[in-house]
Symmetry: C2
Subunit: 221 residues, 2 copies
């Protein structure tokens, strides 16, 4: 038995793909959406693909109360607003896993470029915004939403995990490692998210040139 | 037969490791150093390990005139001074391959952090400094100097190559692909070097945690 995970923005491409993968892996998933009806619809779609998945769907703030580990997979444009909405419901024992990438696309710039975030990274911005005692771990930036959402496609790549507490990272890695074909690599403190997040822009540049859905692996470990 | 490559800073750890690898691959190497005697010494050391390597050693500026492709593997602290010294000898047909990484270690900061370079990246700074008509390609940031310099250690990783001209990148890739175990991946325009360079800091953070000499691979291509 695994602890559940709540996916805020679980109707977006990456969130939905991860819901499918975790659903198949036997991890209970709570899908959050701005609209409870859309969350319920996403639950139905996951069930169609993975009939025995353990799933619930709620509006984002309610979803965030249903699991101790809360994954944020919203576009950077919505990150701040989403965290403001979650602030009243997040409690000190909870972990927020931030997968946000500050692509310049958020302000109609190129998806191969990132915005400078004052705090250093989207994950550090999240850490500043969550209530006292809630800790942020940064992960899952380099997993292609398209690949993740296609269950016929075997995954075979690494996930960089950044955070300031080793036990928080281990808890998040425990959940991510449940997904077949993903291996977690501890990439250091939360400030390293600045680089991990920028990898998405680099992979998008590679994808354009190679007509691919690239991921990364760390060699030599 | 391969065209030769000149390695500016070829007595440093990465430059020397690459000289060994190219020497073994049959690529003629010109080792440059600030001090011609140290360049000659490095030539002797490569010959000890790879007796049939084609090698010459010169002071940096002279070395840069001996090959059309000139690789810069100096610390960021020395990049600007080195390019100023090379400026009078570089000619419009030449390609500069920049492997410089603006680690904060250059100003006694952490090696897991980078400095902001006004032009965007060390490679773009190099492009601004070379004479008109000389083009810069950015590559080889993620290859561990320690691993590269140990010929008993098989390489098995990717090299991200950034540049504005496809034919320039192909020429550089042709040289790098001669080294067993390295695969080149076109990562886009020269501006993507900002992200590729920062990967070194990320790998250093991973190395600290995993007691490793990590590299990267791009999956899904």
């Amino acid at each position: 038995m695994s602890e559940p995970i709540a996916i805020i923005g679980g109707t977006g491409a990456l969130g939905f793909g991860l819901a499918l993968r975790w659903g198949r892996a036997g991890v209970p998933v709570v899908i959050g959406s701005r609209d409870a009806a859309r969350a319920a619809e996403a639950v139905d779609r996951v069930r169609e693909a993975v009939p025995d998945a353990q799933l619930e769907g709620y509006e984002n703030a309610e979803a965030a109360t249903k699991a101790e580990v809360v994954l944020l997979t919203v576009p950077f444009r919505s990150q701040s607003e989403t965290l403001t909405n979650l602030k009243p419901v997040l409690a000190p024992h909870q972990l927020v896993v931030d997968a946000t990438v500050p692509l310049a696309a958020a302000v109609s710039g190129r998806a191969t470029r990132t915005l400078g975030v004052w705090q250093g990274s989207a994950a550090q911005q999240a850490q500043e915004m969550v209530p006292e005692g809630v800790r942020v771990v940064s992960a899952l930036h380099t997993v292609s939403a398209a690949t993740c959402g296609d269950l016929d496609h075997a995954l075979d790549e690494d996930v960089l995990v950044c955070g300031n507490q080793r036990e928080d990272k281990e808890r998040v890695m425990g959940l991510i490692d449940r997904i077949d074909g993903l291996r977690c690599v501890d990439a250091g403190r939360l400030e390293m998210a600045r680089i991990a997040e920028s990898l998405t822009a680099l992979l998008i540049s590679i994808n354009v040139r190679h007509k691919a859905h690239a991921g990364i692996k760390i060699t030599g470990l």
